[in-house]
Assembly symmetry: C2
Homo-oligomer: 431 residues x 2
């Protein structure tokens, strides 16, 4: 590759165009309270996808749709489009170095979701292509913008369905057979909205996912760019405490087997385990049910959930060991039995150090405050990371609030994240 | 009063007759699981009342029914029947020493209630009269068996309605206007079952109430008779903890305002306050609701109840002070707000020391293991105690279980309690 005139240009994204695209997409499924309700594979999701696919075509992309409805807009590079030929039978090229540098996220939302979760990642990708078009830059490797099917998991489980199938975490057949509350399968819903594709999915040489933080850290520290080192592993438990119902009046304290008292000790233990663990530890009891839940009856049974998260698999395992130890101690102390049943075990995901370092470097070069951060929640990037070097770019969101109609982000922060994305993709794809 | 031949007899109740009466009454509203469902002022309640009223008439009682449906079966003594004349206009005699020595309880049950709660106190009274008839004993003061309306408070609130009206805790008009879920007033229900009486209620010189313990103490200590010193005072609170909802993944521990963590600390504080307080202290959180109650959302709001009980009013007040102090400390620790709203304030009730001492003495004389005990729950006796010297006699119940279809009591213990009652009434009424 020889130096060319375009090397002299440092392209920048157009903040107003990015904002306008976000607001245009947000009109589809807009809620009265300023949010968006655009559930996966509904008519509104179709309209949202069609809008973005139109923009991708206008930006010069060829569109591929796979069998789970993932959309890939591919902008060819000087080394081709990352595929052997065209059409449904085209396969990813053998050499990873000729494959697309991709960006993606999702355009489905929560039932009372916001305008930015997911949508930002996709439209930041669209804006990168537009900015490169404006600057007349063709990259060496192809570029790709991906829209993953059903990230939110509200209408259909599992969550992160499209990226999960892409990465081999779930089989296609299993996902196509999932039904919503009305009994409509994913397969039928895909056909109904016109996104039951037949194309093979491209493989990537690298994947970026810009996203709002959905947490309070960047805003609190007045930092614009989070260079995401990885996603926390998650181990979730259903806990059942069994004691003995009894009248609150006649039963002396020493004769009680109070399931709620025991559960209360466990809620504190979960917090203490997280507080004393390194590596971005989190511990949460979010759900708790009391039986019989009557004000003058000592509770005989309590069910609650435990959500432990950590960036290190070994620290996460040690948190789980301490959870079991705490349960054994509370069993002895309160004369109850505690059963812990693991319901989710999602290992920690470390993103690619080179890509993470690049994001940090580009942010600094552009003058944006940056810090390393972990993603506490799951994202499509966590699955895609199983297939290629991956990283995420976080931008702050107002009060850390997401999955809510009042979700809000500063336009300048959205632009900063997209500019960092542009530099990172350009460097990775070569110019 | 001169010594008569009947002084030589130490009368005893007939255990089989007492048991048979309990089982006969238990057939009215019997449930498939061995319990009883006989809600206040229903057709089944009427059948139960009619049965007992028939037994009282057979035992030589004149029946009076007051305007809230309380039934009084009066067995005249040598000093008369405690009333000035007969009929609706008869009034209690002026001299307390000529008034009846009474025994009573209730025959309404919980929806899935047992065969003994309430019913035992009334039928032990019936058996005392029968035993005295068998022995040919006429007491100096009259005797009375009382059936109080709607003790359970399941169909109509307030609980302990009949004894509460009798003692002036509630007005008659207020109680007659209460409605059940179908909108039927107490006044209409009383008329429908034929228990809207017009008689003035007799006043007592003393009142006894035998009852199953509804707790585990006597059984655990293998004691047959509880000489009840009084009933615990109760102060009940509704508590609301307000923190901040947030995602369990992205929100670092230091930035959380976890309402459930704070509530868990309060559950433990309630227990610790009770554990470190004298005078039969109890502290219970029986009901707790979490919002939004989702496994990966830090709870933003928790509502729970607090039930504090104590035999001493000043100790109970000190427990409440410590509850407020604990709330203030948890507010600071967890960055939440905690509102405590008092919903019930029922002062402790001390029973008459002479009557309590007599119960203890008679139990010993009859060879029954006895201990002093406090009633943790409310009973009609707590209201009646506002009008005359009062005491209760507890007998053990299986596993301390009550308000349950599996409620069970040993026939020998029921007989022991009725025998102690007989001696106590005989001594108090004079022979």
């Amino acid at each position: 590759m020889s130096a060319q005139p375009q090397d002299l240009i440092v392209p920048r994204i157009n903040p107003d165009r990015l904002w306008d695209s976000l607001m245009t997409l947000a009109r589809i499924g807009a809620t009265p309270k300023g949010g968006v309700c655009r559930l996966a594979l509904t008519e509104l999701d179709r309209q949202g996808r069609d809008l973005v696919v139109g923009w991708l075509r206008e930006a010069g992309c060829e569109i591929r749709i796979d069998a789970i409805g993932n959309v890939f807009g591919i902008r060819p590079g000087r080394l081709g489009n990352g595929l052997t030929g065209h059409g449904p039978d085209a396969q990813p090229v053998a050499e990873p170095t000729r494959r697309p540098v991709a960006v993606g996220s999702h355009v489905d939302t929560q039932p009372t979701g916001g305008r930015f979760d997911g949508n930002y990642g996709v439209l930041a990708g669209v804006e990168v292509l537009r900015a490169l078009n404006d600057a007349g830059i063709v990259t060496e490797r192809p570029l790709c913008v991906a829209i993953w099917t059903n990230e939110e998991g509200t209408r259909y489980t599992p969550v992160m369905m499209g990226s999960g199938v892409y990465a081999g975490a779930f089989t296609l057949a299993h996902c196509l057979d999932q039904v919503d509350r009305e009994g409509v399968t994913v397969g039928k819903a895909l056909a109904a909205v016109g996104y039951a594709g037949k194309d093979s999915a491209p493989r990537f040489s690298a994947y970026f996912e810009p996203h709002i933080e959905q947490g309070p850290v960047l805003e609190a520290e007045q930092i614009t760019i989070g260079a995401v080192e990885g996603a926390l592993g998650q181990r979730w438990f259903d806990a059942t405490v069994t004691g003995q119902d009894a009248h609150a009046g006649p039963t002396p304290l020493a004769m009680r087997r109070d399931a709620l008292l025991a559960a209360a000790r466990m809620v504190q233990a979960v917090r203490e385990i997280a507080e004393s663990s390194p590596d971005y530890a989190r511990g949460t009891v979010g759900q708790l049910f009391v039986h019989p839940n009557s004000r003058n009856v000592i509770p005989g049974r309590v069910e609650f959930t435990v959500d432990l998260r950590n960036a290190s698999a070994s620290t996460l395992d040690s948190m789980v060991r301490r959870l079991h130890e705490a349960a054994a101690q509370v069993e002895r102390q309160d004369g109850v039995s505690i059963v812990l049943r693991e319901v989710v075990h999602f290992p920690p995901c470390a993103f690619d150090p080179t890509l993470v370092g690049g994001i940090e470097r580009h942010a600094r070069a552009l003058g944006h405050p940056v810090r390393r951060i972990a993603s506490g929640a799951g994202h499509d990037a966590v699955y895609v990371a199983r297939t290629c070097p991956t990283a995420m770019i976080f931008v702050p969101c107002e009060n850390g609030i997401s999955h809510n109609e009042i979700e809000n982000v500063k336009p300048a922060d959205l632009a900063a994240g997209a500019d960092v994305l542009l530099q990172a993709m350009l460097e990775t794809a070569g110019r």
